[in-house]
């Protein structure tokens, strides 16, 4: 009886899909957006391991099932971690932009150099 409703599952699927899609873009900012959305998706997934509509996990004496506090605590931790790391990613994106004057994820130069070789450079 634990599984969440299909609507929410669908929402999670959409969040992950859009997050992944943004992540696969070349624009740095969209990559950051992707991480933010994926963060929501993961936190929502944690939440969905629990029964649906329930009371908050506050022991106030009210009747009724309370929601599972552990995923909430984990999601809270994850939200804050994601926030910290996202700000770093943002600073990094800004710096890439500062250096290259280009809002795109740069490709690795050495890889591209090797990619252009047609013959092994030395085989001795």
């Amino acid at each position: 009886m634990n599984a969440p409703g299909l609507v929410l599952i669908f929402a999670v699927a959409v969040l992950y899909s859009t997050g992944f899609y943004l992540l696969l873009q070349r624009s740095l900012m969209r990559v950051v957006f992707g991480i933010v959305i994926l963060g929501h998706a993961a936190n929502l997934s944690l939440m969905l391991t629990d029964h649906a509509i329930t009371l908050p996990p506050l022991l106030t004496g009210k009747d009724g099932p309370i929601s599972d506090p552990l995923p909430q605590a984990m999601a809270l931790t994850a939200i804050v971690i994601t926030f910290g790391v996202t700000t770093f990613l943002l600073a990094l994106a800004y710096r890439v932009w500062l250096g290259d004057d280009n809002d795109e994820v740069p490709a690795d130069l050495e890889d591209r150099r090797i990619g252009r070789l047609s013959e092994p450079e030395d085989s001795s």
Partner: protein, 213 residues
């Protein structure tokens, strides 16, 4: 956590230099993210966005103590109702972000009691110290100790628990994080932008007087 203290508006550039720059052995000019670069900013301090709004600035100043009190409430009452160190810290830092948005980086500098780095280090010491203290008695780390004062005037029965210290550390760290991010991604960029603007002007006219005509 002190509230708004206009009297401490802006640390002197020298002190700032000491904090940020000395460690850099290159002998480069000291880095001070908050102290104004007087050359370029003799007359005006721009807020982060748009023209300066006195109303917003005053509102922000007035709101700050209230927000801070609320954040402390969240911190202290976290064990029994929604809140806690994170929420409290985030709310407290909101106060500063608001001030920054309203009044620019100078306004921000005026409001904060301590450098973000100090907050971070202090918070981390608190958190880790609380975590490590039980080890001295051979107990597992992070064990919570509490002491209940039964007959306190005015408050009656009050419980002091070591997790409050822990939460305070969390609170400080969250505030420190937001402040350093605002300082880095907001104030710093702002300063750069002004510098560029000023340089462009001085390159043309040779006199960088102020921001506005």
């Amino acid at each position: 956590m002190s509230g708004d203290e206009p009297a401490r508006a802006g640390p002197s550039p020298g002190r700032a230099a000491g904090e940020w720059g000395r460690a850099d052995r290159s002998g480069a000019p000291p880095e001070n993210w908050e102290a104004p670069r007087e050359r370029w900013l003799s007359t005006a301090v721009r807020p982060a966005f748009g023209p300066r709004s006195v109303l917003l600035e005053v509102a922000a100043r007035l709101l700050t103590p209230a927000i801070l009190v609320f954040s402390v409430f969240l911190l202290v009452s976290g064990h029994d109702r929604p809140g806690g160190g994170f929420a409290g810290g985030l709310v407290a830092s909101m106060a500063y972000v608001l001030r920054y948005i309203a009044g620019g980086r100078r306004e921000l500098a005026a409001g904060i009691p301590m450098r973000p780095n100090g907050l971070l280090a202090l918070g981390m010491l608190l958190v880790c110290g609380t975590a490590a203290a039980p080890l001295l008695a051979g107990h597992p780390m992070l064990e919570v100790y509490s002491y209940t004062a039964h007959h306190l005037p005015l408050f009656g029965e009050v419980k002091f628990a070591s997790y409050l210290l822990f939460e305070s550390g969390v609170f400080l760290i969250v505030v420190g994080l937001v402040l350093s991010v605002v300082a880095a991604l907001g104030a710093r960029m702002e300063a750069e932008e002004e510098e560029i603007r000023g340089r462009r002007r001085s390159g043309g006219a040779g006199a960088a007087k102020g921001e506005r005509p």
